[in-house]
Structures are given as structure tokens and as C-alpha cells.
């Protein structure tokens, strides 16, 4: 069986959010803890806990929102470091990488030497990995996680998997995502508490009682690797290229090109009854820079899962710092998707409770149908972007490029992001405006004597704002005063100066909240001696 190295960075989401092991911090998604630092774990914060329970256990825990894109971006450094040692690697998810051990292990003089080299190189990037080497992905994954407690790489000898597995808890099947919680719970209730107990049963009986997923668990528990990958290599014509005559600098445009490829690929595979478990994504720029990465997903990838991986890879590449040797300098001219590993599509068993609901499936169908009525880019879902002004905080991305059926998406509720420890100091406190204007509306603010009010560089006002007058027209033909309203209450200015180091995106504004006599509240912005309504509290 193939020897596999697993590099696992424990609690990657919280590490990627920038917290060291000593700070008590946790990453939240949908009000549940998805990852936490060792300091928080010591106080009793557990993955899967609700926010309130976590705060009760550890009152000074810092909560941040889950952002898979950030995880993928930060992980790029680690992936590139591993790729210098062994270029053939599969990223399972940010924080978790598989690579075949055979070649590199022979080069470095044995599994232990390879593990030490990897640990040292990754350690130099400032992250602490856990490394496990064993036969097959499942045992190697367990070895990497167990290595964390020992603080040194764990190598299971060739052929030693059954003995290594037999004493381990059956819960590992769930931890590594190979079996769902219900099945594992059933095993425990039946008295199969260790992997060895399950492996001792005859495989026919397990298949008869638990079906396919039970047989899969049995195979893993016996130390045999999971689903055997397709023995033949995928036919070369499955490789799909999109050569872009006009190199694209915009990440969204590239993702759209990849979407067409992914739809075509997933459709062709589905027609054969197969599903892609490992996909190689190659991106090349007009200047010849390349980024090639292989992505693994045990349950197979849908078209949107493929597109999501292209986006992660592209975002990570674009986010590389200036001056690094693999920096991207041109537009993308080639996108290539190669299915590297296929297996028969066994379908997915839908959960009776939890998981994807009927409403989710109906919505996904409606989104697909709407994509035919209006352009695909016009059907969008929100994504957290971050920013101080209401208009910056979210961006809309096309729904067809997002895996909507995944339980946790990267939309972060503002509740935790705008908390006292949130990453955007200088935001206005809640309540937030219910209407955020796409094109700010020009206005004029005058004082009691009818003079236009101005804000000085030090944030001083030339007069008390008393009348707010809408302006119509445009820059070229001049502004005409429109309807005016008396200001009954106002607060501000709150000055804001952003990106002063970037001349093109530098912004210097003063924000006000104003209430007019008809009961409307406005977020008013003064910039370059001009006034705008940025958002309405309606």
C-alpha cells in the first residue's frame, strides 16, 4: 500500500486568524466554535460549543469569525514550503496536506529523516506542524494528529497499520470525516468502542448490517486504505484547458472561466457515473508564471467545489507579498483542470435531520433556474469583505461559484466582527443603516444663516448644520438644489483616514449621523469639501 505523509497544522483556522497558542481565542461559524487555541482549550473551550458556553468557560476568549478564504490564503506559505521538499502533494483543506512518501523518503534517507526535514522547514515559517507517516491516508491522518501530543513526528512502520489501529477509539472515523456521527454513535452503542473491535467482525456481516458506509469504515479500521482510487489513470482527454486570448487580471473573471470548465468536467464525469476526488488546478499567467496545486476531497467534488478550489488557489497566489519569487505579475492566460483521481459515484446519503434541508435544495434549484433568466453574475450571495464604511463591509459574489450546500460559508455575521475586539476599529456603533446607497447621493448642508457648512482638517465645523438639501444633476452640468429638510439632530464628525500609504485608494472623510424632521436618519459623509449621503437608516 502507498506510504502517505500527512502534515497537519492543529487548529489552523485560529492560527490563520493570527493568534498564538498562549492567547485564548476561538474561531466561530454559525455561532459554534470551529477552532480554538490551546490556551482556550485549557479553559474548557471545545469545538462545536455555542458562543455563550465558550464565553462562560473562558470569559476573556477573543472570538473571530470563520473565513475559509483567509485560512487558504495563509496556508499558501506552508504549502509552498512543503512543495520545495516534495512537489506532488494534495491539499485536503487548509491546514491539512497529504503527500506520497515514497520518492522523497528515499531521497532524504528514510521516513524519519523526511519527517524531520519537513518539520524543520515548516517550523522555519513560524507554524508548528504535526507530521505522521503511515500506510494509507486514514492511518497517516491519525498518526499526524497523535504526533501532536508527542511533539515529534510519528512514523507507523510499513504493514503496522492494523496493530496501530486496533487499540484506537472508534471516534477517529468521525474525526477524520470518514464516517458520520450517527454511524459512529451506533457502533459505540453496539459495544464497538475500538477500531480493532470493528475490524474483528467479518466484513460480509458489516456490509449486510451497515451497508456501504459500514463496509468503508470496516476497511479503514482494518488498516486498509479507504476507497480504492481508480486503478487506471483518467483518460488524457478529460484534461480541460481554457486559453484566454485576453489575459484576465480580475480574479472574478478567471473564476468564471474556471466555472465553465468545471461544469463541463463535472457533467462529463457524471455521465460516466464517476466523480473526481483529486483535481489538479493549473493557472498560468501571460508572463509564464505558474501555480499548480492538487486538491483532494474524499467525498468527491461537484462543479462548484472545483470552482471554489480555483478561487482559493488564485486568491492565495494574488495575495503573495510583492517581491517574493513566485509573485504574480501578469493576467491569467491559462486555466487547466485535470482530474487526477476518479472513483465511481456512489451518491450521498442525505441526512434525515440536520445537514441539507429541503429548503436548501429548493433554493439551489431556483438559483440554477434564475441563472438562465438573468445573467449568471446577476444572481449573487453576500461575502464578508471587511471595512469601516457600510458599503465596504460586504461584497456580492456570483452564487454559481459558491458551494451553497456547505453548512458553513464565509459570510460572517457582524455581531462578532464589530465586537470590542473586532478587527475594524472606527466603525459606527449599531444600529447599522438598513439602506446602503450604491451611488452616494450628493447633498448640501447649510447652517442657520444659509451658509454652506465645511469641515476643517482638524474636524472642526464652520457652523451648526441645520438644513440638508438634496442636489440633482451631475458634475459636468452643475448641481441644482432639490428638496430640503430641516435637521433636528446630528452627531459627529467622526473622521476617518484610510490607506494613506496608497495614493490611489487613499480616503479621508468625516462621517456624521443626521436626523431630519420627517424622522429619517442619514449617514452623511464629508469628503473634499463635498457632502454625500452614504446610507439611510430607514
Amino acid at each position: 500500500m502507498e506510504r502517505i505523509v500527512t502534515v497537519w497544522c492543529p487548529d489552523w483556522s485560529v492560527t490563520a486568524a493570527g493568534f498564538g497558542p498562549e492567547t485564548p481565542a476561538a474561531v466561530m461559524a454559525a455561532n459554534r466554535v470551529v477552532s480554538r487555541t490551546p490556551a482556550a482549550a485549557a479553559d474548557g473551550v471545545v469545538v462545536g460549543q455555542r458562543q455563550r458556553q465558550a464565553q462562560r468557560r473562558c470569559p476573556d476568549v477573543v472570538l473571530v469569525d470563520h473565513d475559509p478564504a483567509r485560512d487558504a490564503r495563509r496556508f499558501e506559505v506552508v504549502v509552498r514550503t512543503i512543495a520545495e521538499v516534495a512537489p506532488r502533494l494534495d491539499v485536503v483543506e487548509p491546514g491539512w496536506v497529504h503527500l506520497p512518501a515514497r520518492g522523497p523518503s528515499r531521497y532524504f534517507g528514510g521516513d524519519r529523516a523526511l519527517a524531520d526535514v519537513l518539520a524543520e522547514r515548516i517550523g522555519a515559517t513560524g507554524y508548528a506542524p504535526s507530521i505522521g507517516i503511515a500506510d494509507g491516508r486514514f492511518v497517516s491522518g491519525i498518526a499526524a494528529r497523535s504526533a501532536r501530543r508527542r511533539d515529534r513526528p510519528l512514523v507507523v512502520d510499513p504493514g503496522g497499520s492494523p496493530a496501530f489501529c486496533s487499540d484506537l477509539s472508534i471516534g477517529w472515523l468521525q474525526t477524520l470525516g470518514e464516517a458520520d456521527a450517527e454511524l459512529v454513535e451506533l457502533f459505540v452503542r453496539l459495544g464497538l468502542r475500538r477500531l480493532g473491535d470493528l475490524a474483528a467482525l467479518p466484513v460480509e456481516d458489516v456490509l449486510g448490517r451497515f451497508g456501504r458506509s459500514g463496509a468503508h469504515a470496516h476497511r479503514l479500521a482494518s488498516g486498509v486504505d479507504g476507497r480504492p482510487s481508480s486503478s487506471t489513470d483518467p483518460a488524457p482527454e478529460r484534461r480541460l484547458d481554457e486559453v484566454l486570448d485576453d489575459p484576465l487580471a480580475q480574479s472574478s473573471a478567471v473564476v468564471f472561466a474556471a466555472k465553465q470548465l468545471a461544469d463541463e468536467l463535472a457533467g462529463a464525469l457524471a455521465a460516466e457515473g464517476r466523480v473526481c476526488t483529486r483535481l489538479v488546478v493549473l493557472l498560468e499567467t501571460e508572463h509564464g508564471e505558474r501555480s499548480e496545486r492538487s486538491w483532494y476531497r474524499a467525498e468527491g467534488m461537484s462543479a462548484s467545489a472545483m470552482v471554489e478550489r480555483v478561487r482559493w488557489q488564485l486568491d492565495a497566489w494574488m495575495a503573495l507579498p510583492r517581491g517574493s519569487d513566485q509573485e504574480i505579475t501578469g493576467g491569467i492566460s491559462l486555466v487547466r483542470l485535470t482530474p487526477d483521481e476518479l472513483r465511481a459515484d456512489e451518491g450521498a446519503q442525505l441526512g434525515l435531520w440536520g445537514g441539507q434541508t429541503d429548503a436548501d435544495r429548493r433554493a439551489a434549484r431556483a438559483i440554477a433556474r434564475l441563472g438562465a433568466l438573468v445573467p449568471e453574475e446577476a444572481v449573487t450571495v453576500p461575502m464578508w469583505n471587511g471595512g469601516r464604511l457600510p458599503g465596504d463591509r460586504y461584497r456580492w459574489i456570483p452564487a454559481s461559484t459558491v458551494e451553497l450546500d456547505r453548512q458553513q460559508r464565509a459570510v460572517s455575521p457582524a455581531a462578532t466582527a464589530s465586537g470590542p475586539n473586532g478587527p475594524w476599529p472606527g466603525c459606527l456603533p449599531s444600529p447599522s443603516p438598513a439602506t446602503v446607497l450604491v451611488d452616494p447621493c450628493p447633498i448640501e448642508v447649510v447652517d442657520d444663516d444659509g451658509r454652506s457648512v465645511s469641515v476643517s482638517g482638524r474636524g472642526m465645523l464652520s457652523g451648526t448644520p441645520s438644513v440638508l438639501r438634496m442636489l440633482t444633476g451631475d458634475e459636468m452640468s452643475g448641481w441644482c438644489p432639490g428638496a430640503s429638510r430641516r435637521i433636528t439632530g446630528w452627531a459627529g464628525p467622526w473622521p476617518i483616514e484610510e490607506r494613506w500609504w496608497e495614493p490611489t485608494r487613499h480616503r479621508r472623510q468625516a462621517r456624521f449621523q443626521m436626523v431630519t424632521d420627517d424622522g429619517c436618519g442619514y449617514l452623511v459623509v464629508a469628503e473634499h469639501r463635498r457632502w454625500w449621503i452614504g446610507a439611510v437608516y430607514d
Binding site: A30, A366, P382, R393, A399, A434, L437, G519
Partner: protein, 226 residues
């Protein structure tokens, strides 16, 4: 035997009628989506009835609409925003709408694969998009484009009723006869005084009327709620 088959064939045109007759009867009360408790007594059924249209107007219409739909979306429903690029997502999330179940659809712009059609493409496509969205989403927030023929709107409202989506119209519903019309008659903000403080609390008077309302009723409440 032959006779039975004959009869089955002759009965085919009536099948649709039959399907309608044997469809399970469900009372309006059973097909409601939850609303916040403070707003529940503005509705005769105590919640949003599937298949109905309601409108929100006045100076706090958007906030009221978000507050109304939040419990339904939090309970697992999906929300479609049609031609509303301006909804403040921070506010939506403060009212309790989970952002991962919001989808925005813009009907303006050329259709997929076609050139710009003659006439006003926006108005032509709007009913189709609303009908398609009603098939898959539980709640729709829309603005009714002006000058839409009443016949088109009637057809659309029948379709929505069959599909069981709740449509919330922001602002003027035009010639659409809404089942419940909510009007934020007045809104008073507190918290800002002469340059100090920040917007903190808003007291809103909501009046409800409409063709399914037994009478007019008024309620004073805080938006966002306490």
C-alpha cells in the same frame, strides 16, 4: 376492462381539476411563517401567511421588512432580494437574518446569451424572475416597478400563492393589491443631540391595513427592538 380504460382516457382533461379538488386542505393559520412577537398582533393570523403579499412603506420601511422576515429566515428559510442592491447587510444581520441564506437577483441588464431586447427589458423580465424566485425561496423582498399592467400583477400573485412564498413589497406597491399593508407612520430617533452621541433607538408607529385586515390597527414599537 376496455370500458375502464376508455373511461380513464376520457377522464384525462379533468385530471387537473381533480388534482385541485383532492389537494390537501390547509388552513391559512397552518401555513404561517413566524414574525417577531411584538409584530405578531399586526397580523390577523399572527404571522406571515405563505402565498400572500404584504407591503412596507414609510420612513422605516426597510428596517420593518428586515425585522419581519428575520425569524422565518433564521428558522431555515431562504430570502431573495430582487433588484435591491441597497439592503444594508449589517442591519439585516443585526435584525437576526442569517446572511448565508440571502440571495440577491438583479433583473436589469441583458439576459443570458441574448442581445439587449427592445423596449424596457427590466420591466419585461421582472415578473418572470419573481415567479421563478417564488418557486425556490420562502421570502422575497421586492420593489414593484412602476407602470406594470395590473393583469401581469394578478397573474403573478396567483402564481406566488400557489408556490407558497411570502412577498414583501418595499415602498409603493403600485396597482398590486396587497393582503396586508404596513405603514410606518412616524419614526423618532433618539441618541443624537447637537453633535454628540450616536443614533441609538428609534420609536416607530406602524399602522396596518389591507384587504385581508379586519380593521385598521396601530402599534408603537422600537426598531431595532430592545
Amino acid at each position: 376492462m376496455e370500458l375502464a380504460i376508455d373511461r380513464a382516457f376520457t377522464a384525462t382533461p379533468d385530471l387537473t381539476g381533480l388534482a385541485e379538488r383532492i389537494a390537501p386542505v390547509s388552513l391559512a393559520r397552518e401555513r404561517t411563517l413566524p414574525v417577531p412577537p411584538v409584530l405578531a398582533d399586526l397580523f390577523p393570523e399572527g404571522g406571515l401567511v405563505r402565498g400572500r403579499w404584504l407591503s412596507c412603506s414609510g420612513p422605516s420601511a426597510t428596517s420593518l421588512a428586515l425585522a419581519l422576515v428575520a425569524p422565518a429566515i433564521a428558522a431555515g428559510g431562504w430570502l431573495a432580494l430582487i433588484d435591491l442592491p441597497t439592503i444594508g447587510l449589517d442591519a439585516a444581520s443585526e435584525y437576526g437574518v442569517p446572511l448565508e441564506r440571502i440571495v440577491r437577483i438583479d433583473t436589469a441588464g441583458p439576459a443570458a446569451g441574448t442581445a439587449v431586447p427592445p423596449g424596457d427589458p427590466h420591466h419585461r423580465r421582472w415578473p418572470e424572475v419573481v415567479a421563478a424566485a417564488a418557486d425556490g425561496f420562502d421570502v422575497l423582498i421586492v420593489r414593484v416597478p412602476a407602470h406594470l399592467p395590473p393583469a401581469v400583477l394578478r397573474k403573478l400573485s396567483t402564481r406566488v400563492q400557489r408556490r407558497g412564498a411570502v412577498v414583501v413589497v418595499l415602498g409603493d406597491p403600485g396597482s398590486m393589491a396587497c393582503d396586508v399593508e404596513l405603514d410606518t407612520v412616524s419614526a423618532t430617533w433618539t441618541g443624537v443631540v447637537g453633535g454628540a452621541g450616536h443614533l441609538a433607538e428609534r420609536r416607530v408607529t406602524v399602522g396596518s391595513s389591507g384587504r385581508r385586515m379586519p380593521g385598521r390597527c396601530r402599534r408603537e414599537l422600537l426598531l431595532p427592538g430592545p
